[in-house]
Symmetry: C2
Subunit: 400 residues, 2 copies
């Protein structure tokens, strides 16, 4: 059996090697949430571009004001957005938050520390020289690379790009992922269920994940059981999509038609991965397009999509960091050691995690009940109150 970490390393390596194949495009910064930057962005400006006032108050040169006993005439008024002239020597300027500090001033007294008397401002002597000024270039310096290629864009990165004047950026085109479901027992939701049938839930889970990841799902529906139809569908998917994925069927053999079709059009490896739920994973290519076959059980699909599919798709999409976020939490349960790395569906309560009673791979409700996974390493026994690795779902769903 292959260790999870080894499998991820191999998947990421394969993904990274293919990144250059995905084309780039310019998009509006406002539309770029979750996309992967395809350029190093350097700033053409200092942010802020000039020293500015952090407060509403009065701007003055501290040494001048000190000499005048901190009572000086008000010679100007500077609102935000104005380009101020130089400050008359020995005077102060009424100034507002965000407004540029005039040449000749080096300190701002906030208005609560001042009073106006007869055209003069009386400034509390305690205001320290240099106070309440945001220096030019404090946030970003002109020429700095503010974000590197490979960065997934979160809301704050959109703000940072805007702050240096960027309205558009070059990003990797969102990945197009073709999704097949396999299994003659599957029926799409909304239709009646005949004996022997179950509803197809994996397509909806995968649709949600791909949407959360900013990717485009090409829905190929439920794979029919006629080999020539499967080949035709796979051919079309491989031509239209950047990746082809299936859930179910690939490890089964006798009742499987996808495996043969993939092998006819490309190549396929069947991996046994030391992961629970999960284990069988098919990985290969169809007409040069990467192919991944996930297991069929709903909780297995969910866990392997987070732990194996996600790092593969993200590296293929050009992202640099694909590791999940793991934090320490206290277990309220005990559990024997196993041979495979197990991903337990848990619920967080403060700094502790409770476990869902039934960890069967068929139980999708186990994943809905809680808000994350606990990674139980192979050979690791968990005792009550042990600190364990908690992987919050939210960290899997966003541009981290």
């Amino acid at each position: 059996m292959r260790a999870v970490d080894d499998a991820v390393r191999l998947l990421v390596q394969t993904g990274k090697a293919r990144v250059r194949a995905t084309p780039c495009e310019m998009v509006s910064v406002h539309q770029a949430l979750g996309l992967v930057l395809a350029e190093d962005v350097s700033s053409p400006v200092d942010v802020p571009p000039r020293d500015n006032s952090a407060m509403d108050g009065y701007a003055y040169r501290h040494a001048d004001a000190e000499r005048a006993g901190f009572t000086v005439p008000v010679s100007a008024r500077i609102a935000a957005g104005q380009a101020p002239g130089a400050l008359a020597s020995g005077s102060a300027a009424r100034i507002f938050t965000g407004a540029e500090i005039p040449a000749g001033a080096d300190t701002v007294a906030m208005q609560e520390d001042c009073r106006l008397e007869d055209g003069h401002v009386v400034i509390a002597a305690a205001v320290t020289p240099g106070a309440n000024i945001r220096p030019q270039g404090q946030d970003v310096r002109r020429g700095d690379v503010i974000l590197h290629a490979g960065r997934r864009l979160r809301p704050q990165e959109l703000g940072l790009l805007a702050s240096v004047g960027r309205a558009e950026v070059s990003v990797h085109r969102p990945l197009r992922v073709a999704v097949f479901s396999t299994g003659d027992e599957l029926v799409e939701p909304g239709r009646p269920l005949a004996p022997g049938q179950i509803y197809n839930s994996n397509r909806a889970t995968l649709a949600g994940l791909l949407a959360a990841w900013g990717m485009v799902m090409i829905d190929c529906g439920i794979c029919p059981d006629r080999p020539e139809r499967v080949v035709a569908l796979l051919e079309r998917a491989a031509r239209d999509a950047d990746v082809v994925i299936t859930s179910g069927g690939v490890s089964v053999g006798e009742e499987d038609h996808v495996k043969g079709a993939v092998e006819r059009l490309g190549s396929l490896d069947l991996w046994k991965i030391a992961i629970k739920p999960g284990k069988p994973l098919a990985f290969g290519e169809v007409l040069g397009t990467p192919f991944m076959g996930l297991p069929g059980n709903p909780a297995s699909v969910f866990v392997t999509a987070l732990m194996l599919l996600r790092p593969f798709l993200f590296s293929l999409a050009g992202a640099d960091d694909v590791s999940p976020m793991a934090l320490a939490a206290r277990a309220t349960f005990s559990r024997k050691a196993g041979k495979r790395e197990e991903y337990l569906r848990v619920r967080r309560r403060g700094d502790a995690v409770e476990i869902f009673a039934n960890q069967s791979s068929g139980m999708l409700s186990s994943a809905c009940w809680g808000d994350g996974l606990v990674r139980q390493r192979a050979g690791q026994a968990i005792a009550e109150d042990d600190l364990v690795e908690f992987l919050p779902y939210s960290a899997f769903f966003t541009p981290l």
Copy 2:
């Protein structure tokens, strides 16, 4: 000053009181990621609908096979999706993963534990009665409420809805949020910067957050400094949107035109909140539509949007749980106690968090550098190696 928790409680209360005003709509489950459920969903079916096989192998009645010395004739073949007839007494059926267990069988031996001899299957005696069967209703029982109204839909909930046959669900219509920027110093990215001006970054940060939250931004641009224009813009925004928000300007007074306009069209409270960065927050309504005025500094906008705007918008959108996820992490820094609750921009490294050197409210780069906030409570000093509350950004960005 108002404590952060008190402010949030008041905002959530106001939001919840207005939920019924947002209309509901039916959407496809595949399109429902991040939306808030507006109905209790109960299941019309058992999942799985019948006992089925967890493995490829042979199905039989354990007592019969034992009596026959675990060598029994193979009388049937049951693939997934077929409705099997009853099993002939004293025989076994070849069966595949996901296929329905025939009446008369109570155990599945996986194929690795069997060998075929002359039309008979020889079953390892060690297979326990009842093995490898997924019982009917294991995941969901018919009539169970699987998800309650108020639940934000994550990928796994989409899967669960599909698993009980739901193709569409009733959700709250995504919130429409009108966003104004204020400040005469602001220029939109992509244009040249004149002296005294800075680029408007808050709009992009807010656009990203609203997109991450599944909400619709109505972009009202930069507020002009003519009172009658502001009133007209606010009127239109209040009519078209479910909420109106601004960044900057509202606390300033002399140079502010939004405050007067809001007061003319509705009402406005100025709150001083014990939060850093942040502090001033305007909260009120315009022609009956809720209004929130965020601070103007980019890091203040980011932090107050996560801590104050998010719980308000989420409760207004009908969500039941709006609290952020806080986990324990070890501080690699020390910090004096302060009077306000401070949200430090940090970066996680394993179980430890490092702090960004400059925590100024003007530094948006502080939020891009890391992956979460540390909440430093008012009066709490932090020493190196203390366990502190870490709030990962990702938990703020997703349907938690």
